[in-house]
């Protein structure tokens, strides 16, 4: 490529794509006017491969399946990429290696490990002097005796979670050593149970509603790190969790008192520094306690759903777009939290009581007609199984939009159960087969 060619085009970004992260069309829209996209995907993953044809519409697609990092880097170098990014936790370390091979800025490999391995992250936070709950690792190969040994002398109540996991999947409360032993045995008996777990001391709830009336004592912070300097785009509140630790929704801005907001942002900045983060967008989850904010987790990418939520609330600021700009060296210059004129929200709706199968979902159209509701997506519909162990991803539907104030938001949350009725049952089998598109007259569908 000639120098004049390079000067006349947008910077070229290698985007390591994963189907469980941002949607291709959102990425394409965010890249408009910022960069040209070169997609890097693992075509051996059927879930990723299905997207190839769509991805090709907005840039060349590089198949990384079975190839070394250096080999992929060599091909990307030939294409003249100016930046590299991944916004999916499981791909951060590989992408860090790719960036290192290309000599391009991204999380260092060491930092990427700390961003994806809960044990490494907590160790780094503790070493930097941040408040960190007691934690221990339960190795994949740990038998019952070793589990007992690990759990002995631990400060219960505790939380057991996969060492590498997200969306509160298999995140379980543990009240005692005996419960730890039985829970690990149960998890190990499952086909997917061969993984490492981390046992973490439960961070106690505050004695007053620090998160604001009607909200959980839990927030997340969206941060932008540029050339080693950190700025925070916003704080999101959480609606009360559903047992055991399932997230039920977010909103931004937050109802938290300004002084506490300052404290939250300070702690988020300290956590980012402790992990050695010098570039990129972060999503930091923080629990509010009587002793101050406690970092639960730092994620090396924007929070799922946060970008659209903040974009709606602010009338245009996109964290996803910001992440792409950072990756290609386009100066962002964020100095303060992003001003908002509405409250953006994302709400997950579950059955009133947990069910194993969904039979009916009635009233979505009525809810969609409510002022402030922009979008409703049915995730688990009639005939589909829903398992609380999957975490917050296993919800029936979610809705997004903006409202004027918190009173309107709480009223809307109420409408999700009064306007919409979710029916279902427990058992081994659905009462009916999964939807048969070739004619199922006996099936009660989701018509309102």
């Amino acid at each position: 490529m000639s120098t004049s060619d390079a000067a006349s085009r947008l910077p070229r970004l290698a985007y390591v794509y994963h189907p469980l992260s941002f949607a291709p069309l959102s990425i394409r829209d965010a890249a408009a006017g910022v960069c040209e996209l070169v997609w890097v995907i693992d075509m051996s993953d059927p879930d990723a491969a299905v997207f190839r044809r769509l991805l090709q519409k907005s840039g060349p697609v590089i198949d990384a399946a079975g190839r070394s990092v250096d080999d992929v880097a060599s091909e990307l170098h030939e294409l003249g990429v100016d930046g590299v990014v991944s916004l999916h936790d499981a791909d951060l370390v590989w992408t860090a290696q790719l960036a290192q091979a290309l000599g391009l800025p991204f999380h260092s490999v060491e930092t990427a490990v700390k961003l994806t391995d809960k044990y490494a992250q907590r160790s780094a936070l503790a070493a930097a002097g941040l408040a960190v709950p007691q934690f221990r690792v339960i190795p994949t190969e740990a038998g019952p005796d070793e589990v007992t040994s690990i759990g002995t002398g631990f400060a219960y109540p505790a939380v057991l979670k996969p060492r590498e996991g997200q969306s509160s999947r298999d995140t379980l409360p543990i009240a005692s050593l005996a419960e730890l032993e039985s829970t690990v045995a149960e998890l190990r008996a499952r086909p997917t149970g061969a993984e490492e777990f981390i046992l973490e001391q439960f961070v106690p709830d505050p004695s007053t509603p620090l998160g604001g009336e009607g909200f959980a004592p839990f927030v997340s912070v969206e941060s932008v790190v540029e050339h080693g300097g950190i700025a925070h785009a916003g704080i999101s509140s959480r609606t009360p969790f559903r047992w055991p630790f399932r997230e039920t929704g977010y909103c931004t801005p937050t109802a938290i008192e300004p002084d506490l907001q300052e404290e939250i942002l300070r702690v988020a900045g300290e956590a980012a520094a402790a992990l050695g983060i010098t570039t990129g967008c972060l999503h930091t989850e923080i629990k509010l306690t009587d002793d101050g904010p406690v970092v639960i987790e730092v994620n090396g990418r924007p929070g799922g759903g946060m970008s659209e939520m903040l974009e709606r609330a602010s009338g245009g600021f996109s964290i996803l777009r910001t992440a792409l700009r950072l990756a290609v060296g386009d100066p962002v210059g964020l100095r303060d939290t992003v001003p908002t004129d509405r409250i953006g929200y994302l709400l997950y709706v579950f059955p009133t009581t947990d069910l194993e199968w969904i039979d009916t979902v009635d009233g979505l159209s009525d809810l969609a007609a409510v002022d402030g509701v922009d979008e409703i997506v049915l995730v688990r519909g009639p005939g589909q199984r829903i398992d609380w162990r999957e975490g917050s991803e296993a919800h029936v539907f979610h809705l997004t939009g903006t409202v004027r104030d918190f009173e309107e938001l709480h009223a809307l949350i109420g409408l999700t159960t009064t306007l919409v009725q979710i029916g279902g049952h427990d058992g081994d089998e659905p009462f009916r087969a999964l939807p048969d598109p070739k004619g199922r007259e006996d099936v009660h569908d989701a018509h309102d």
Binding site: L25, V50, R53, L54, S365, L378, G381, R440, D445, A446
Partner: protein
């Protein structure tokens, strides 16, 4: 000869994994409220392009295009596909 909407319903039934039979949906029903996912959207995109032998332009690759059968029909028509009016009237 089937109408564009009929063909779209066939594509939806084949690849979209909706929670309802597409033949029971009205043209304006919200497909996302019927279980259309991002995965499903990609499948619908490919199914539509194959069924009508077209390529949807970049400007139509947005969420709204896949929100309903009528929106998909508009997208197909904008690519130069002519509807079978008699079939459409009959439907």
């Amino acid at each position: 000869m089937s109408s564009i909407a009929d063909t779209i319903r066939g594509v939806l039934n084949d690849v979209a994994r909706l929670t309802a039979d597409a033949s029971t949906l009205s043209d304006d029903d919200d497909l996302y409220q019927r279980g259309l996912t991002s995965h499903g959207t990609v499948n619908v995109l490919m199914g539509i392009e194959d069924a009508f032998d077209i390529e949807l332009p970049d400007s139509l690759l947005r969420r709204d295009t896949f929100a309903s059968i009528s929106a998909l029909r508009d997208a197909v028509v904008s690519c130069g596909v002519e509807d079978d009016e008699s079939a459409q009237t009959a439907s």
